[in-house]
């Protein structure tokens, strides 16, 4: 049982909490009913002997791949057997089966099938969808190349139409054009949706998607003209066969181009698609998932580090007294609690984007795309902001666990290496920040020319009213009350306004000096990224604050208010330069902010364990000896270590091979 033999420190921590963790869990899940359903699915997976296996830390890469394939195929079968079809429920099921790790069918399920649904013609769906649904066809999505990632227009793979045979001829003309990184491409897939520059009638028509068979059905051998394989070991993603694909005059029928929107007619005539804004929708959706993932990954790391810090005793605080829990040290609290607050903030941001997307996706289907540009710009920035912060935060949690955090038994190394690619995929973060900046500058320019802007950037409207006065916008506006989240939102708003204005002005100054727009943009890009960060930071503080008023239970609201204040104040204390320089806060207020942060640490201390319990990660899912719910850390570290591959034999073979001869010789 989960609650037997609990470590005494953790029991005491839990007893002292001022709120019921279950209630907070319900809020995070989106209602008690959702929590119930999540736990039901969790139990389905965790009680299923088919999904049991040895600790993955002790397996080689190819063994991990093999386990993942085994579980994935069972997973697909069981999902259908249980009739689980809701995307969120599928996500839960999958993440319990694979314990939050990627798996070789990710791209098949997450990209290949959905792309068929959205971009294939009815005829193409007839040919490909059911076989793919039944996994006779396993597909991946081959976009990234060795030489190009986020900058899609630079992709070099070509698909040249040959009207004589009514085929496309696919080629990887350079080394840099080799498809590189797609998950499931190396060993698993027999088909790929390949993005290539379309050439027809001697003209390049830009990137289009093609269904390309890559391995022989039956033997699974690569087809003639196809070179395919695994790209080798990575930081993480051991169970994923990220692959390469090189095509040499490989021919596919005309009907293999995905032609729901753009088309190539038999004679080679190209028919343009209607709008490309539609793809925004998918990007918004995927980026919203990354924001949620940032929150979850950081929450897992916080759970491990905070529970371990409650169990670990070290050194002395008061002479003569027993060694205190390391969670009682101010420096430890300062490392962990702001991250805990951040994890909560990101949960609410992720939920907000998901809801917004759901709300407006109806409009999108009806062709109303008016809200999309803003949402697209906002999610680009939030994706970058949250993944950067979580990436660094996970590492801080690991470092806060000292030496033991470095062992794979802590589970944090695995969380980190699994999470860190999200700073790069689905849009490299710096590029994402600059996309948001482009929108901010555009909005600023609109305001300057007398138009009004709406949505999250509406604070820029205030700039025009203040234009008459010569100083910086923010310098005179707010009187900040440091214990009032609403007032802190105003402070963040003023900071964002100031940095957007500064970046826009610097950009203008560069433009006045130089010929090229691109050059001016490049020379301002550090300022522009700062402006985007400030904007995202403001949105997050605002959303967290807004969430507080929705919470009915007073005890839960109280503790979340503390976290919200900590999040906002800590953010100020880490960026005091911006607030001081803009005159939003003065020296004395900054000192107060720093002081208040430390007081909040002491206040949050008593609920720290309950706050991570509320994330409700099952031990199996957490995969950490240090973060175990029962806190029995040391004995289980020993049990874990005994299973290490180096311990398989009492005397390691190296002794006989190398050591003994050495001793004999010298």
């Amino acid at each position: 049982g989960r609650r037997t033999m609990m470590n005494a420190d953790l029991r005491r921590e839990r007893a002292a909490a001022t709120f019921q963790p279950e209630l907070l869990t319900h809020i995070l899940d989106g209602g008690a009913e959702r929590t119930r359903r999540r736990k039901e699915i969790e139990a389905l997976v965790l009680n299923d002997p088919d999904f049991q296996h040895e600790d993955l830390n002790f397996l080689s890469r190819s063994q991990r791949y093999e386990q993942a394939i085994r579980k994935s195929s069972l997973m697909v079968m069981k999902l259908r057997e249980y009739g689980i079809a809701d995307p969120e429920e599928i996500y839960w099921f999958k993440s319990f089966v694979h314990r939050g790790r990627p798996e070789p069918l990710d791209l098949h399920l997450g990209m290949f099938l959905p792309t068929l649904l959205t971009q294939a013609t009815p005829e193409q769906q007839d040919r490909f969808f059911m076989p793919a649904w039944n996994l006779e066809i396993i597909g991946t999505y081959a976009q990234t190349e060795m030489g190009h990632g986020t900058h899609l227009r630079g992709l070099e793979t070509t698909a040249t139409y040959d009207p004589a045979t009514q085929e496309f001829i696919l080629n990887s003309p350079t080394v840099t054009s080799i498809k590189w990184w797609p998950g499931g491409l190396g060993k698993t897939s027999n088909h790929a949706i390949v993005l290539a520059q379309l050439y027809t009638q001697g003209q390049c028509k830009g990137l289009h998607a093609f269904i390309v068979p890559i391995r022989q059905l039956g033997t699974h051998e690569p087809l003639p003209g196809i070179t395919v394989g695994d790209i080798g070991p990575k930081f993480g993603y051991d169970e994923m066969d990220n692959g390469y694909l090189k095509m040499d005059n490989f021919r596919i029928p005309r009907e293999n181009m995905l032609m729901k929107y753009a088309q190539v007619e038999p004679d080679g005539t190209y028919v343009k698609p209607l709008s490309d804004k539609l793809t925004y929708g998918t990007m918004v959706f995927i980026r919203s998932l990354i924001v949620g993932d940032s929150a979850r990954s950081l929450s897992r790391a916080c759970t491990i580090a905070i529970r371990y810090s409650a169990v670990r005793h070290q050194s002395e605080l008061k002479p003569g007294e027993p060694e205190p829990q390391i969670l009682d040290y101010q420096t430890q609290q300062y490392k962990l609690f702001p991250l805990l607050a951040t994890a909560y903030a990101f949960h609410f941001v992720g939920a907000y984007i998901k809801d917004t997307y759901r709300r407006i996706s109806g409009d999108i289907n009806e062709g109303d795309l008016s809200e999309l540009p803003e949402l697209h710009a906002l999610t680009a920035g939030l994706k970058a902001f949250t993944s950067w912060t979580a990436n660094a935060g996970i590492e801080e949690c690991r470092m806060a666990c000292g030496g033991h955090g470095y062992s794979r038994c802590s589970g944090i190394p695995d969380i980190y290496v699994t999470f860190t690619p999200s700073c790069t995929y689905e849009g490299e973060n710096t590029v994402m920040m600059l996309q948001t900046a482009r929108f901010l500058v555009k909005s600023y320019t609109q305001v300057s020319s007398g138009q009004r802007v709406t949505g999250t950037v509406s604070y820029l409207n205030d700039l025009s009213r203040q234009r008459i006065q010569p100083q910086h916008v923010a310098a005179r506006t707010v009187t900040v009350r440091i214990n009032d989240p609403v007032s802190l939102v105003e402070a963040y708003k003023a900071r964002a306004a100031r940095l957007v204005e500064a970046a826009a002005k610097n950009l203008q100054a560069e433009l006045n000096h130089r010929k090229s727009k691109e050059d001016a943009w490049n020379r301002t890009s550090v300022d522009l990224v700062r402006a985007s960060e400030a904007h995202c930071h403001y949105v997050i503080v605002k959303l967290f604050t807004a969430k507080l008023s929705e919470i009915s239970n007073a005890a839960v609201r109280a503790v979340l208010t503390e976290l919200c204040l900590l999040y906002a104040l800590h953010g100020i204390s880490k960026n005091t330069g911006d607030f001081l320089q803009a005159g939003i806060l003065n020296d004395a207020q900054i000192t107060q902010v720093n002081q208040r942060v430390k007081e909040l640490l002491a206040i949050i201390r008593r609920n720290a364990v309950a706050l991570v319990d509320s994330f409700d990660f099952h031990d199996v899912h957490l995969g950490s000896v240090l973060g175990r719910y029962d806190g029995n850390v040391y004995e289980n570290m020993f049990e874990w270590a005994k299973k290490s591959p180096l311990n398989k034999t009492e005397v390691h073979e190296s002794f006989h091979k190398h050591l003994k001869p050495l001793q004999a010789k010298l």
Binding site: Y65, S73, H148, P233, E395
Partner: protein
């Protein structure tokens, strides 16, 4: 051939790379020696690291043992000795990927802590590898806080033996390198009990494995602690002792001894122990922190000069990513930091040598300062370098994530340096204790060690800079750093005093100020690093070409620090908002200037392709070709995975269509 994109970068260098390399090495003769050692090692296939990224933990361990054994042979062949000038280059050449590193610590601890008889008994067989040693200090339950260790050694007068025990699970030795599988002996740190009285932590030589068949000795439970983020080649181990008896002579007794009747005698100064820690902390800065950062910069900067992405000007070729301001902002400050830390390492080395000479004359006066500096710089530099390597990793986008980039293993290795030899936060607080003490002394007119005399010269003023070029004056920014350090140290000391005067207990007041104290310690180190860099540059007058670029790097390092910690400089108005805008402008200008010499500046570190072991960082810049060829050698592409026959085939052959 060399990729033209890299060749171009080299043609426009503003200085002689070869001269800079020689200067960094400490003379052309050193460069020559280093290259000879590196070449001899790299030519030998046993030391090859090409397959390292493909190997399992077992294979890595075996390879490390094989290399360690082979190195003995090699050294003999080449006529190299442990004490010779080649020694430090050997370690650099094998990139630390070798076993028995703890064997050296074992020997060093006996040499430092053992009596002459003990040295005579243990050192000769150890240097002949007739026994393999380890160093067992850290336990499952305790690391940096040594007094908390729980292993016991009880003296038994009747048999003249110590009885060693692991009384509880948290007392198990945990982490010592070479101990899981290799070591036959280890130095165990245990609480010494004589006649029921505890005398604190002492070192004991304990045999753990048979010298005949390598099986575990009676009463010993030992093994490998399992996979870690890195160091797969090292068998970090656990050790449990159950009534293990060792003779009285096995306690290292240069400074403390238990006499046959159980009388406990202490001789000499305990302070010398601090000296050992100090020496280890200083010695790791260069090899474990600065070198990896230099490698990471080399890889990321060369790759950024080869990778082209998107267009800066319509109609032109895609731009090198190194031409993007945001990419420069990520990488160039790390490059400047690598240089800054190289120089601070020289500074510490010199300080240490001076201190060592004093200590040999039995003068321990410099110890507190040395100890404080080594703690603070170990923490500051390892932390900075770790985040620098991580920035380089992320700046390489997707390809940085491949092990073949070399960056993930640099990163996972360097992060361990933030923990070992003292957890960084704790080390910073040790430095802070010294700073607060020195500040109090200085403010009452007492004399203080040279590195902190600046604390006495408090002059509350304003930064005199009038325009952005003023911030390129070392006096201006060094003073800003000094002012900031003094402010943070004095305000924290004042806060501490206030709390104590208001009745808060001393230890409690200390804990309540620790966040500020750690920040103050970092500020102090940052100031010294900037100041030292500026002084080095000033002394370079004779080497005009090099001085110019070093001056740019020094400015860049200093201004990046102000730019990214703007708040602490703005706080009391020392730097005004308008001045901060000048700092930013100057800083961004410098990025564009240093950009021009970025590739020559990493070339000057003079790492061979083999030592970088990176597809992205190779000297010739043939990045994509290498990545492709190397990936094809991955075992995943050579061996047939059982996964296809067992799982994929049934899957593809329609088992699901029944559904």
């Amino acid at each position: 051939g060399v990729n033209p994109d890299l060749a171009n970068e080299r043609q426009t260098a503003s200085f002689s790379v070869e001269k800079l390399t020689a200067w960094l090495d400490g003379g052309a003769e050193q460069t020559r020696l280093r290259r000879a050692v590196v070449e001899a090692i790299e030519r030998d296939p046993v030391f090859s690291r090409e397959n390292q990224y493909f190997q399992s933990q077992n294979e890595r361990y075996e390879a490390a043992v094989r290399k360690a054994v082979h190195l003995q042979k090699k050294m003999h062949e080449m006529g190299w000795s442990q004490e010779g000038p080649e020694s430090k280059y050997i370690y650099r050449a094998v990139a630390g990927d070798i076993a028995f590193l703890l064997h050296r610590i074992f020997m060093r601890s006996i040499s430092v802590l053992g009596s002459d008889e003990q040295i005579a008994k243990w050192i000769p067989p150890a240097s002949q590898y007739q026994l393999i040693g380890s160093y067992a200090q850290t336990e499952l339950g305790h690391g940096t806080y040594l007094q908390g260790l729980e292993t016991t050694a009880v003296f038994d007068v009747t048999t003249q033996e110590f009885i060693l025990n692991t009384p509880k699970i948290s007392a198990m030795k945990w982490w010592p390198g070479d101990m899981g599988r290799s070591a036959t002996h280890t130095v165990v740190f245990a609480q010494l009990y004589v006649h029921g009285k505890c005398h604190g932590i002492h070192p004991f030589i304990v045999q753990i494995r048979s010298l005949q068949d390598h099986s575990l000795c009676p009463g010993i439970i030992a093994g490998d602690i399992g996979p870690k983020m890195n160091f797969e080649h090292i068998d970090n181990g656990y050790l449990m002792l159950q009534n293990v008896r060792v003779p009285r002579e096995n306690m290292l007794n240069k400074f403390c001894e238990v006499q046959p009747d159980g009388t406990y005698v202490r001789r000499g100064s305990q302070k010398i122990n601090y000296f050992t820690m100090t020496s280890v902390r200083i010695s790791l800065i260069s090899s474990e922190a600065v070198t990896p950062l230099m490698k990471a910069c080399t890889i990321a900067i060369r790759y950024s000069a080869v990778r082209r992405q998107s267009k800066l000007k319509p109609g032109e070729q895609e731009a090198k990513i190194l031409d993007y301001q945001t990419q420069q902002e990520k990488l160039l400050p790390q490059l400047a930091a690598a240089y800054a830390f190289h120089f601070i390492d020289d500074y510490l080395q010199e300080l240490f040598d001076r201190g060592y000479r004093e200590i040999q004359r039995k003068n321990f006066d410099t110890l507190p300062e040395l100890h404080a500096l080594s703690s603070g710089f170990k923490a500051t530099v390892t932390q900075y370098c770790t985040s620098g390597v991580e920035i380089c990793l992320r700046a390489c986008g997707g390809h940085g994530y491949s092990l073949l980039s070399g960056l993930p293993s640099l990163y996972t290795k360097i992060i361990a340096s933030c923990i070992y030899e003292g957890e960084n936060t704790i080390l910073l607080l040790q430095t802070a204790r010294f700073l607060v003490k020195s500040f109090m002394a200085a403010s009452t007119g007492q004399s203080v060690p040279p590195s902190v005399t600046y604390l006495a010269a408090v002059k509350p003023s304003k930064c005199p800079a009038k325009n952005k070029s003023d911030f390129l004056s070392p006096d201006i920014y060094t003073e800003a750093y000094q002012h900031m350090a003094v402010r943070l140290i004095s305000s924290t000391a004042a806060k501490l005093q206030d709390l104590i005067q208001s009745g808060v207990k001393k230890h409690d007041a200390w804990n309540r100020c620790t966040v500020q104290l750690a920040q103050a310690a970092k500020a102090h180190c940052h100031y010294i690093i900037v100041k030292n860099f500026a002084e080095i540059v000033a002394k370079l007058e004779s080497k005009a070409g090099i001085q110019k670029i070093m001056k740019h790097l020094c400015d860049l390092f200093a201004l990046h620090g102000i730019f990214s910690n703007a708040g602490v400089f703005l706080h009391d108005g020392y730097i005004s908002g308008a001045q901060m805008d000048m700092v930013t402008a100057s800083y961004l200008d410098l990025l564009a200037i240093v950009r021009k010499d970025a590739v020559p500046l990493v070339d000057a570190f003079d790492f061979t392709d083999k030592s970088l072991n990176s597809a992205l960082g190779c000297y010739d810049g043939q990045v994509y070709q290498r990545l492709y060829e190397w990936a094809r050698k991955s075992p995943t592409n050579k061996q047939i995975s059982p996964a296809y026959e067992k799982y994929l085939k049934p899957l593809l052959h329609n088992t699901l269509s029944k559904l």
